[in-house]
């Protein structure tokens, strides 16, 4: 392979199919990766960031004439080596790259482009000495750096929680929080995505956005549910070409699929002895008044329950196998199996859930 080859994947032999009906069209538009040109409901945030970056860039290059073309690089930072490669195309070891970057940002140079550095998932850059984070926020504060750093993290109070003082102080005060979408905004996002493609009933859209807004306000989740609902709609129709609109029932089904807990279904579908074992666990917890019991204590209850139910009393190995299968499904939390009958058993689901699932049949 050539040394500076451009990475690529094999091209597909046939071109992608064009959408055949309305539902397919809607599905393509609703795909998470289909990012629109303008983001609805985030106009204010867009404006804030835009003016912030613009002011910094104009500052940095101010005085060098009116018709300056702004070169600015847009870097997604993973580590020092990668960012150096992005900036200059050099390859170096991590330490060497850090030194080179240090030199670049601290020395004055007459015609240096402003660099905008976008750091995603900031919390993953945490190390014990925090020198990566420190450098990252120290460089833009240098006089000659001409660097704008935009960092993205999931928690608002990340600087206070994990950063040591000298890092947190360099972060500055320009902090911005993105609120989760309300249901109206979610509805607006979907309608703008669909863009006059008539695939959904109004009520169905409202139901999706209200449900999602109540739980997390995650736009991706909202789009996923809508796409799943179109699929359900297509499958339920007798003739796929004339499926009609996505109705409330389809959306309800999709919501149930994505939000219902799998634990209860798993308990309902468990075998008889597994259900008996769960009942024995709860009985033993009630007797002890604790949320933890050893396997041999549960075994006594399990065998008693078998007798009450009129089944053959279960052997130790079989009961242990039942217990470990439940542990492998994460319905129970178990210690390593080499402890044998002395391993402690805890429930991974609430007792009420177990009782509800066992009673429902």
């Amino acid at each position: 392979t050539p040394r500076h080859a451009t990475p690529s994947i094999p091209n597909r032999l046939l071109p992608t199919r064009q959408p055949a009906n309305v539902l397919e069209e809607a599905r393509i538009r609703l795909h998470v990766s289909a990012v629109p040109e303008s983001l609805p409901c985030r106009e204010q945030e867009f404006q804030d960031i835009y003016s912030f970056v613009e002011s910094k860039i104009l500052d940095g290059t101010g005085g060098s004439g009116t018709s300056v073309i702004f070169f600015f690089f847009f870097i997604l930072l993973n580590d020092c080596t990668r960012s150096l490669q992005k900036l200059t195309g050099q390859k170096a070891t991590a330490d060497h790259a850090a030194a080179l970057l240090e030199k670049r940002f601290s020395n004055p140079a007459p015609r240096k482009e402003t660099t905008v550095l976008l750091v995603d998932e900031l919390d993953l850059l945490w190390t014990r000495k925090q020198n990566v984070m420190y450098n990252l926020f120290d460089w833009p504060s240098r006089r000659h750096a001409r660097l704008v750093v935009l960092a993205i993290a999931n928690t608002m109070d990340l600087p206070e929680r994990i950063m040591i003082n000298r890092v947190a102080s360099r972060l500055g005060l320009t902090r911005m929080s993105f609120q989760p979408y309300t249901f109206k905004q979610l509805q607006q996002i979907i309608t703008s995505r669909l863009n006059k493609v008539k695939a959904f009933e109004e009520d169905a859209l409202q139901l999706v956005s209200r449900k999602v807004a109540a739980l997390s306000g995650d736009a991706r989740r909202c789009l996923d549910i809508c796409r799943r609902a179109t699929e359900i709609c297509e499958h339920s129709a007798a003739d796929p070409s004339a499926a009609g609109l996505v109705a409330m029932s389809h959306v309800m089904e999709a919501l149930n699929e994505m939000f219902s807990s799998a634990y209860i279904t798993a308990i309902k579908c468990a075998s008889l002895q597994e259900q008996l074992f769960l009942r024995a666990v709860i009985a033993e917890f009630r007797r002890l008044g604790l949320e933890e019991a050893t396997f041999q204590q549960v075994l006594v209850q399990h065998q008693a329950l078998c007798r009450v139910e009129g089944l053959q009393p279960i052997g130790v190995s079989e009961s242990l196998a039942v217990c470990q299968r439940l542990g492998a499904c994460r319905l129970l939390l178990l210690e390593p199996s080499r402890l044998g009958v002395l391993q402690r058993v805890r429930l991974n689901v609430s007792q009420d859930d177990v009782l509800y699932a066992l009673k429902a049949d």
Partner: protein, 441 residues
């Protein structure tokens, strides 16, 4: 009994030869054969065989593999200290050294599977036999689940056979795995042991005589030992003594009672000496040849006499007293004018003689030194040599340091010697330790 093994896929002659080598294991061998199926058929992906020590697990597998000439890799998990060795052995015994050298230096499971899949597919089932499989639990967490479904991973006709003395229940990983087929090898009964042991008879004596000897041997040892290997070893060791009267011409072969009279006390003595490895087998044989009084030799455990410096002896005595006496009785034992202590509240009856059953208790360094100064007559300066003697007693494993966190600030010790040992030591320095022990008051 031989000739029970029957399977359509294999040569009759070979099966017969294998059956001759597997006395009392026909059922298990037959079960294994039917699981294996014909050579080109797919076998179950993994078989887990468990049974006590010397119940013929490896023997049955080895004989079947060798006699039927099946492609197999036998490896012991004790030897495979790293997975690299394990993979290398498997590849080498299946495909030869060239393929094994393809493995990178520290291979992962993926490397192994990749290289395996590059090789030509098997025309008949390949077997990987892993002995002492309980050690696989200490290896990487993904190794055991991967081995259990190796057939699926490498897409080849391969079967993993795990041999262990431990039941499967304690193997199962917490994340679940493919369940192997469990096969139990039960213990040999007394009759079966007799049958197997009678097979290796001495050529110069009749078979009846040897089987009579084996029945005497089992009569003595069966209650304490059912391990075939151990019994076979004992049988070989003591047979010459059993034959002695015959060789000298004192008794005839038919005179069983006299033979029994001759050998039985000898075997009883063997149980106390050679079975516990007090006397090595070589020494035992020499003793028999020299016609010495057997057991006159001092065993390994009789050498409990250790030469120690004077103060070390007292330090050890003090440590023993500190370990086995409760701290509240120190005042009564070691202070000259301790005032009046009523005997009734001093001796709590229910506490008596329990300390020696419960084992030694930890004590701090100051208490050891305090008891040491009151036990030793004459003034002893707390020099560096006293403290270095304490730490060398720890190195000699006569004391044990309990708390490892701080070496300097009041370390805690335990005394790790027996009562007999400390009595011997206190006798050499004329110290009556029994008078000072709370348990023997």
């Amino acid at each position: 009994m031989a000739g029970l093994l029957e399977h359509s896929g294999y040569d009759e002659e070979r099966l017969k030869r294998a059956a001759e080598q597997l006395p009392c294991r026909e059922v298990q061998a037959g079960m294994l054969l039917s699981l294996m199926g014909e050579p080109h058929q797919y076998c179950y992906p993994s078989i887990f065989i468990y049974g006590h020590r010397a119940s013929g697990k490896s023997h049955v597998i080895n004989v079947l593999m060798k006699e039927l000439e099946l492609p197999h890799a036998t490896l012991s998990c004790v030897e495979c200290v790293s997975v690299a060795l394990l993979f290398e052995q498997v590849l080498r015994s299946f495909f030869g050294c060239d393929v094994a050298s393809l493995l990178p230096r520290s291979p992962s499971l993926t490397d192994f599977v990749r290289i395996y899949r590059q090789q030509s597919p098997a025309r008949q089932t390949r077997y990987i036999v892993m002995e002492k499989a309980e050690l696989l639990r200490d290896a990487d967490a993904n190794l055991l689940p991967a081995l259990l479904r190796l057939q699926e991973l490498v897409e080849d006709n391969v079967t993993v056979i795990l041999l262990s003395e431990i039941v499967w229940d304690t193997f199962r990983p917490n994340t679940g795995c493919f369940e192997p087929l469990l096969l139990h090898f039960p213990d040999y009964s007394k009759v079966e042991l007799q049958q197997i042991l009678s097979q290796d008879r001495h050529p110069s004596y009749s078979a009846e005589l040897y089987s009579f000897y084996v029945s005497i041997l089992l009569g003595v040892f069966y209650s304490v030992c059912r391990d075939l290997r151990e019994l076979r070893h004992l049988a070989a060791l003591n047979f010459s003594k059993f034959c002695e009267p015959l060789a000298e011409g004192k008794v005839k072969e038919t005179d069983t009672h006299k033979l029994w009279k001759n050998i039985e006390p000898h075997l009883k003595k063997a149980m106390q000496t050679v079975y516990l490895r007090e006397v090595s087998s070589l020494q035992w044989e020499q003793m028999q040849q020299m016609e010495e009084e057997t057991g006159a030799l001092k065993g390994l455990s009789a050498h409990t006499h250790v030469e120690l410096p004077f103060y070390s002896k007292f330090l050890l005595i003090a440590a023993y007293l500190a370990s086995y006496n409760p701290a509240r009785t120190d005042k009564r034992f070691f202070l000259k004018h301790h005032g009046k202590i009523k005997k009734t509240n001093f001796l709590k009856k229910n506490e008596k003689t329990t300390n020696h059953l419960l084992g030694p208790k930890p004590f701090p360094l100051d208490r050891l030194l305090a008891i040491f100064y009151s036990v030793v007559d004459g003034r002893v300066a707390p020099t560096a040599s006293i403290f270095s003697q304490i730490s060398s007693l720890v190195t000699l494993q006569l004391l044990a340091q309990v708390s490892h966190d701080d070496q300097l600030d009041s370390p805690k010790y335990k005394c790790a010697v027996s009562l007999e040992f400390i009595c011997n030591i206190s006798r050499t320095v004329n110290f009556d330790i029994m008078k000072y022990l709370y348990d023997f008051l």
